[in-house]
């Protein structure tokens, strides 16, 4: 009886307050979409890092005729200088950091260049001579780049040591900014949602002050009086969280899996599996948000 009673009270409250309930649902929905989008973006960054950090290399570019670095004073790299680089990679102290290395000749570099910049003016204008020979070094731990870079700095015949990770990090930095922006919006929207829930419940308590007054008088317990209001907020927030999860699922299913994965298949994209990890968190945040703002509001505006 008590459960049924509480349920009917909730429905009455939600119906009487339709506009406010809908606004709570929408605001919770938007704020949780931002929270979820931020979380999914971080997971995407994680997935990309795992994928690319395994594949990135340190490139040791050797001197060409036209190199202007001080270490290239003798012009084109000599065979002795090449051997010295190879010997250094195989001997202590570097050998413990290096997993493997590969030599890339001018011809190979040119082929790769042509492939990357096919159909562009840069691709058409480049000649094989302008490109560097290089050693592509895979490190045991990609973060040990500085050890290799410092070792070869000043070595004759080495023009530049380049860490591909640096390039990726710039890309990840941009994604991190997006996460921060999403997080910022989420924060503002969550504050708005909390205040809106508080206002809705206050209004609801005011609308039903006659009922609650009678309940108090006939000796209803605090729980029976406050629970309908609390659950009203929680139910609205849960619907908002449900909508947010659905929207994120659709975005990942049709946006990421349906479009990005086929457009840029080289990347390691997140899937709807990640959405199912994020969704319970969104529901948790929604319930917590509604619960806390309800309890605070009720303790102030609904005397028991």
């Amino acid at each position: 009886m008590r459960f049924q009673f509480v349920l009917s009270e909730i429905l009455t409250g939600l119906r009487r307050n339709t506009a406010m309930t809908v606004s709570v649902v929408l605001v919770t929905f938007v704020s949780l979409v931002f929270v979820g989008a931020g979380a999914l973006l971080q997971m995407q960054i994680g997935a990309l890092k795992d994928y690319w950090y395994d594949r990135v290399e340190v490139s040791i570019f050797l001197c060409t005729d036209s190199s202007e670095a001080p270490t290239c004073i003798d012009g084109e790299v000599s065979q002795t200088q090449r051997d010295a680089v190879v010997a250094a990679l195989q001997a202590p102290p570097l050998d413990t950091y290096v997993q493997s290395y590969e030599f890339e000749s001018k011809a190979e570099a040119f082929a790769r260049f042509q492939e990357q910049f096919a159909d562009t003016t840069i691709g058409a204008a480049a000649t094989e001579d302008q490109l560097n020979e290089s050693y592509r070094v895979k490190l045991v731990d990609p973060t040990d780049f500085d050890v290799v870079a410092q070792y070869f700095t000043g070595t004759p015949g080495v023009e530049e040591v380049l860490d591909q990770r640096r390039l990726l990090d710039r890309f990840f930095a941009v994604l991190n900014v997006f996460t921060l922006v999403a997080g910022g919006f989420a924060l503002v929207m969550i504050v708005a949602a909390a205040l809106l829930i508080a206002t809705t419940i206050r209004l609801s308590a005011f609308n039903r002050r006659r009922e609650t007054g009678i309940m108090r008088l006939v000796g209803a317990s605090k729980g029976v009086i406050q629970l309908p209001f609390l659950l009203e907020g929680v139910i609205a927030a849960v619907i908002g969280a449900g909508l947010a999860s659905g929207a994120l699922w659709a975005a990942v299913r049709y946006g990421v899996q349906g479009w990005l994965t086929s457009t840029l298949p080289l990347f390691n994209w997140i899937s709807t599996r990640e959405v199912f990890v994020v969704a319970p968190v969104l529901f948790g945040i929604g319930v917590l948000l509604a619960g806390v703002s309800s309890v605070v509001t009720l303790s102030r505006y609904l005397k028991v």
Partner: protein, 246 residues
């Protein structure tokens, strides 16, 4: 049943106490009229019994328990033993008569079969059995007050508090409500009725406690509204009650 012992209640931001050193004993099954002008302390007295407030000093004991020392989660249990009726009925406009009375039992978690049995019995007692499906606005003022009495009494409280229950009713209807409260009193329920209604008090010849400026100025076993006044009977007696509205 209700015992006030040197009770003083001073509200914040008020120099005058609403009740000053009130000592009073209302026994089980008593019927007491609480009379006095507005601001004499009648409402404060009822609020203290209901534990809407706690006394500034002195002790209030209701059904053997010191209400000031009752923990807040036990207050609902105290209130389940007290029925309350107000001048303005306080019915729920969107619920019919049956639902209004049943509401008092639903919110304290009574089982459905209990409600289905007790509510019709109580409506029978107040004479509204055939109007169970009516909404409050379809009833006269007197009938609405009967619904309020039914709601107050449906859980068989040991105490019934009535705060100006006839304040909005014409003299004849008021007598009907009075007879109803008297009948409830005869089931063993202690009734405390705060009122301005001279004729009701004078006709009933029950215990009268008069308050003035928060103090008890009179406590007569079979009293009249005004001490020394001739018992007033008849149409002129209603001059002290507000104009009938229904």
């Amino acid at each position: 049943m209700i015992r006030f012992d040197g009770v003083t209640k001073t509200y914040p931001r008020s120099a005058q106490p609403a009740l000053a050193d009130v000592t009073l004993d209302v026994g089980r099954g008593d019927f007491v009229f609480l009379v006095g002008s507005s601001g004499s302390g009648k409402s404060t007295f009822l609020r203290l019994v209901l534990r809407e407030d706690v006394p500034t000093s002195g002790t209030v004991r209701v059904a053997g328990r010191d209400v000031a020392r009752l923990s807040s989660w036990k207050v609902p249990h105290l209130r389940r033993q007290i029925g309350t009726v107000f001048q303005d009925f306080r019915l729920l406009a969107n619920k019919n008569v049956f639902e209004n009375v049943a509401f008092a039992l639903q919110v304290i978690g009574k089982p459905r079969h209990h409600i289905a049995q007790v509510v019709p019995e109580t409506l029978e007692l107040v004479g509204l059995r055939d109007k169970a499906r009516r909404l409050p606005h379809e009833l006269s003022g007197g009938e609405q007050q009967r619904v309020a009495v039914a709601r107050a009494f449906v859980n068989r409280p040991v105490i019934l508090l009535a705060d100006e229950p006839t304040g909005n009713l014409d003299p004849e209807t008021s007598r009907g409500i009075m007879r109803l409260l008297d009948r409830i009193n005869r089931t063993g329920t202690t009734v405390v009725m705060a009122t301005h209604d001279t004729s009701i008090v004078d006709e009933a010849r029950k215990r009268v406690v008069a308050l003035s400026h928060g103090r008890i100025i009179r406590d007569d076993a079979q009293g009249l509204y005004d001490s020394g006044a001739v018992p007033a009977v008849g149409p002129m007696a209603s001059r002290r009650s507000p104009a009938a509205t229904s």
